[in-house]
């Protein structure tokens, strides 16, 4: 359940299969909402929902930006390999590309761009590619809420829709200020409180 862009509550529906219509009964579920957060400014949100249909996986995308007047849904092409196998192959490929470039950082950056362009081709439908590319300069601080936590969405490299090769401009999805967030943990805070300057330490990963 959402209120505007804010995901407030997830209700888990547990259907029961019965032998006949006469045995059917109404089921109910409930949840509670606490501390409804206030959103002070429009957000750009990309929601990614993983759908499993038999042995095929597809990804449903919902791109929402009130500031840019965008409210669109998209669907990926099906991925026929098993999900874990697919994700493992992605990370093995990154490692292989690092090994091939012999620790040359610039060469590895180029390999990552190729990998990102490949991810875009595989996972993003052309209409979504077009929307993200055309609005890339306006779309800062994009919030990704995904039911799929393993694919390195940050490495998806944008390019003009339908173009096989990468543009000169380096444009990873992560450069659009991409922040991942999850369902069922409330909404992302707009500010954080730090301890006193003496006790504060900053870590980056």
């Amino acid at each position: 359940m959402r209120q505007s862009q804010l995901p407030l509550l997830t209700l888990a529906l547990k259907p029961q299969i019965v032998a006949s219509k006469a045995e059917s009964q109404r089921l109910s579920t409930n949840g509670s909402i606490q501390n409804i957060p206030q959103s002070s400014k429009p957000l750009h949100q990309l929601r990614i929902i993983e759908r499993l249909n038999g042995s095929q996986i597809t990804y449903d995308y919902a791109l929402e930006s009130s500031a840019l007047n965008i409210l669109e849904r998209y669907e990926s092409k099906p991925i026929t390999s098993e999900r874990q196998q697919y994700v493992e192959s992605l990370y093995r490929e990154i490692e292989s590309r690092w090994g091939s470039t012999q620790s040359d950082v610039q060469a590895f950056a180029a390999e990552l761009r190729a990998f990102g362009g490949q991810l875009l081709d595989e996972l993003f439908p052309e209409a979504l590619q077009r929307q993200l590319w055309e609005d890339r300069h306006q779309m800062q601080n994009i919030l990704v809420i995904s039911t799929e936590p393993f694919i390195p969405w940050e490495l998806v490299h944008l390019k003009p829709a339908g173009q096989a090769y990468l543009p000169d401009e380096v444009c990873f999805l992560g450069q659009l200020g991409l922040v991942r967030w999850l369902y069922d943990v409330g909404f992302s805070p707009e500010s954080i409180t730090l301890q006193s300057a003496v006790a504060t330490s900053f870590l980056t990963i």
Binding site: E93, S100, T101, A107, A110, A114
Partner: protein
């Protein structure tokens, strides 16, 4: 691969061909530039059954701690970087990879 060396020698003598350093970065940059009329590769390749679009050419790897680390030029790197199919230039590419 002695035959590959003979092929390189023949191309250099007959067409004044220039060798490219067999490393992924050098080959990718040459492909990206598109400044050639003929590219001849003689060497090895690898591909997975059922995923032929993820094929690689094997370039000059290295040995680290008694382990051979291959240097790969992937089909996706080529497709993402190369702009060979332009109106002005459509070079011939010969891949002789077993």
């Amino acid at each position: 691969m002695p035959q590959a060396e003979q092929e390189a020698e023949f191309l250099q003598q007959t067409f004044q061909a220039s060798p490219i350093e067999p490393r992924p970065n050098s080959v990718r940059q040459a492909l990206e530039s598109g400044c050639f009329d003929l590219l001849h590769f003689a060497g090895h390749g690898q591909a997975k059954q059922g995923k032929i679009d993820a094929a690689n050419l094997l370039l000059e790897g290295r040995v680290e701690n008694n382990t051979y680390i291959p240097a790969l030029l992937s089909a996706t790197t080529v497709s993402q970087f190369c702009r060979l199919q332009t109106a002005k230039n459509r070079p011939i590419v010969l891949l002789n990879a077993c």
